[in-house]
């Protein structure tokens, strides 16, 4: 807390506090759009479960869904900032391709010989190299956009071709297998999950964080004599958050290793196998935890830092931001660099999941990432969007795809449905904006 604010705290604000909010949703202070998206997701899940004969809402499918969503969800958090600033990034799929390829080659050809098999430095340096490269590519795009004045659409369309070609050039189109087992944990799978106990630990920490955040917000507003949320509303929102965390943890812990894998796991770890068989829970997958960490970090960046504030101000009115003395070019460069770094994290997750880097990796990902951000309520006109919404948008997209796979819909028809859903979602969003804004 700064001195300025501390000095003013005791004084009552000159303007009287607002009257108590009248509507139920107003009292809860929840985003109607976010609530609507959760509702839409629930409908999608229930309908698919019905159509696919009860195979959708199983802990196994939901666990897989969470892992499949991770890479797109990570990238969508950056795309929110890009689109909020009235730009677009068509190159993320290709950046994912080239950074994934460079990470795999670097790991196999340089790090493994230098450090030895499964040395901890291998996965760390692989990530450092990949993220640095991604950020550098993004910064280059940002520089051309901000300082040379070439539209983002063109720069990143060029980037889409350039970096896909570069991915091929790195290994002349060969598929490069990953060699480091620690790095492969980023992809999830049986060993890339944290198990039941640690999942409950994370669940507990998340609940503590929710309670702490609620109390702190309330304490801050009390200090400045601001109108407060009704106590029951605080309980409802915090309670809903806690319940969601507990439910998610219960689902991922309910997904257990198949009997054969469990036996092998027990043998390698020297656990005695009881006669009735072992139940070993998967728990949260590592890529899902990475995605959640990225989501929390990006939410923090967008809402709690000057950088995030400036991104939104520039998106709302670039001229006003300029006149306020904000260095809009530098912020543009930083946003694209951040997008590149997130594409590299996405690359780490998706190469680790496939345990190899291929030339075609990430093809069309830019479209899924943009779709996730837009379905998640990011306005293409700029100035509006949330990280949580984009991640939920990624989950919606992946749910549709996964549901159609379970229903054995052919890929071309999947694409037809996805395309129509995207247009439909944006139309609903347009209606929402007209009505509520």
């Amino acid at each position: 807390m700064s001195d300025i604010s501390a000095g003013k705290a005791p004084a009552r604000p000159a303007s009287a506090p607002q009257t108590a909010p009248t509507s139920l949703l107003g009292a809860l202070e929840v985003d109607i759009r976010f609530l609507g998206m959760i509702g839409a997701l629930a409908v999608i899940w229930i309908v698919f479960d019905f159509l696919a004969g009860g195979t959708f809402l199983t802990s196994r499918n939901l666990w897989n869904l969470s892992v499949q969503t991770a890479s797109i969800a990570v990238m969508s958090t950056g795309m929110v900032l890009v689109i909020v600033m009235r730009h677009i990034d068509l190159s993320v799929g290709s950046i994912l391709g080239v950074t994934g390829m460079v990470m795999a080659v670097f790991q196999a050809s340089y790090l493994m010989p230098a450090f030895g098999f499964n040395h901890p430095m291998v996965w760390i340096l692989t990530l450092v190299v990949g993220i640095t490269l991604g950020a550098a590519i993004g910064a280059l795009h940002g520089f051309i956009i901000a300082y040379l004045g070439v539209p983002a659409f063109i720069v990143t369309l060029g980037g889409l071709l350039v970096w896909r070609g570069a991915a091929w050039a790195v290994a002349e189109g060969k598929t490069i297998p990953l060699t480091d087992d620690n790095f492969k944990l980023l992809g999830g799978g049986a060993s890339g999950s944290i198990g039941a106990t640690w999942s409950w630990v994370i669940c507990g920490l998340a609940i503590l964080a929710i309670i702490f955040a609620t109390l702190r917000a309330r304490q801050q507003r009390t200090r400045f004599h601001f109108p407060l949320k009704p106590v029951w509303a605080e309980f409802v929102t915090a309670g809903a958050g806690c319940l969601a965390v507990i439910a998610a943890t219960a689902v991922v812990n309910n997904y257990t290793l198949p009997a054969a894998l469990a036996r092998r796991y027990a043998e390698t770890n020297g656990i005695p196998v009881p006669p009735e068989g072992l139940t070993i829970s998967f728990g949260y997958a590592v890529p899902v935890l990475v995605a959640l960490a990225v989501g929390i970090a990006m939410t923090f960046v967008t809402t709690r830092t000057r950088f995030g504030r400036y991104v939104f101000a520039i998106g709302g009115n670039p001229e006003a931001a300029d006149l306020a003395g904000i260095n809009t070019r530098r912020i543009t460069l930083m946003v694209f660099a951040l997008m590149g770094a997130l594409a590299a994290i996405g690359a780490a997750i998706s190469t680790a999941r496939l345990t190899s880097a291929t030339n075609a990796q990430g093809t069309l990902d830019e479209l899924y990432v943009i779709a996730a951000a837009v379905i998640g309520g990011t306005s293409l006109a700029g100035g509006a969007g949330t990280v949580a919404g984009a991640m939920l948008g990624a989950l919606v997209m992946q749910s549709l795809q996964s549901g159609m796979v379970l229903m054995r819909v052919d890929t071309p028809y999947q694409n037809i449905v996805m395309g129509m859903v995207l247009v439909f979602a944006v139309w609903i969003d347009t209606l929402y904006r007209k009505r509520f804004k």
Binding site: S5, P13, F224, A321, A324, G325
Partner: protein, 274 residues
């Protein structure tokens, strides 16, 4: 950098030489061109502490462009700006703010998608000890300053898009006065306002003037100008027609300066006088 005060004084327009002391702002021989069009062409104006100088002229006369140079939004092709007698190189809005120059733009220059507090502190956010945004402190300060300007204002949590014209205007004014401006530029401050709110802005101008703040006022309303301004400077086609004390000229004479570009006997003629 030393400079000769007497020599500097002699180049000033006559209107200023009547007042003793160092001018708060001197803009000398300012010029700026956009693609061959000389939007501002050799204009010199000045401003004393506690003085209101009105800038008048038709649309496209170059008033807004001239003050945007002072505000740092445009960089002049030629000319010199002095603040308190010292050369003040201003090449961006941050420079201008460092010299205590605050601007209320005609367009208001608000980011519509964020709330009043975010706009008020845009570019100068209060932060906590950890470097994060201190939204609560900013909201508290906003409530305080808005309470003085517009006691009925309640929409602190709403994006300013949802505010009325007058409310948006008060946010823009709050932003200019909250940071202890020494020099205030008001570009059509009452354009979006009703009669009552216009009167409030008039009161505010008088109050700020009494605190020793110098104000450049751009307005179309000649009555407002004669009510509030000590001097008027009139521009036409990018050139200065002349500068006059409002007590030395009539409203008709000032209209003549605006429309015909003719400097009356009570005014110091500029290069643009016909």
């Amino acid at each position: 950098m030393q400079h000769n005060q007497t020599a500097a004084r002699s180049t000033l327009p006559m209107g200023a030489s009547l007042i003793a002391g160092t001018p708060l702002v001197e803009m000398r021989d300012m010029s700026i061109a956009f693609g061959g069009i000389r939007a501002v062409d050799g204009v010199s104006i000045d401003l004393m502490p506690g003085e209101v100088v009105a800038l008048l002229g038709h649309n496209g006369a170059g008033k807004s462009t001239l003050i945007k140079i002072l505000a740092g939004a445009y960089k002049a092709d030629a000319g010199e700006i002095r603040i308190n007698g010292q050369p003040a190189p201003i090449s961006n809005p941050r420079d201008a703010k460092r010299y205590g120059i605050e601007t209320i733009y005609q367009s208001l220059a608000l980011a519509d998608n964020v709330d009043a507090a975010a706009n008020l502190f845009l570019g100068r956010e209060l932060t906590t000890a950890w470097g994060t945004l201190d939204d609560v402190a900013m909201e508290a300060a906003t409530r305080e300053v808005m309470g003085r300007l517009n006691p009925n204002f309640r929409k602190f949590k709403e994006p300013v898009r949802g505010l009325s014209g007058g409310q948006r205007q008060s946010v823009a004014i709050a932003r200019a006065i909250h940071f202890n401006a020494k020099i205030l530029i008001m570009d059509e401050p009452t354009a979006a306002l009703g009669p009552q709110e216009t009167a409030q802005v008039g009161e505010l101008v008088k109050q700020l003037k009494a605190e020793g703040i110098g104000i450049f006022l751009i307005s179309h309303d000649i009555h407002d100008v004669f009510d509030l301004a000590d001097r008027v400077s009139v521009m036409k086609n990018g050139k200065l027609v002349g500068t006059a004390r409002t007590s030395d000229v009539t409203q008709d004479e000032v209209l003549g300066m605006i429309i015909l570009g003719k400097a009356p006997p009570g005014a110091a003629p500029g290069p643009g006088a016909s």
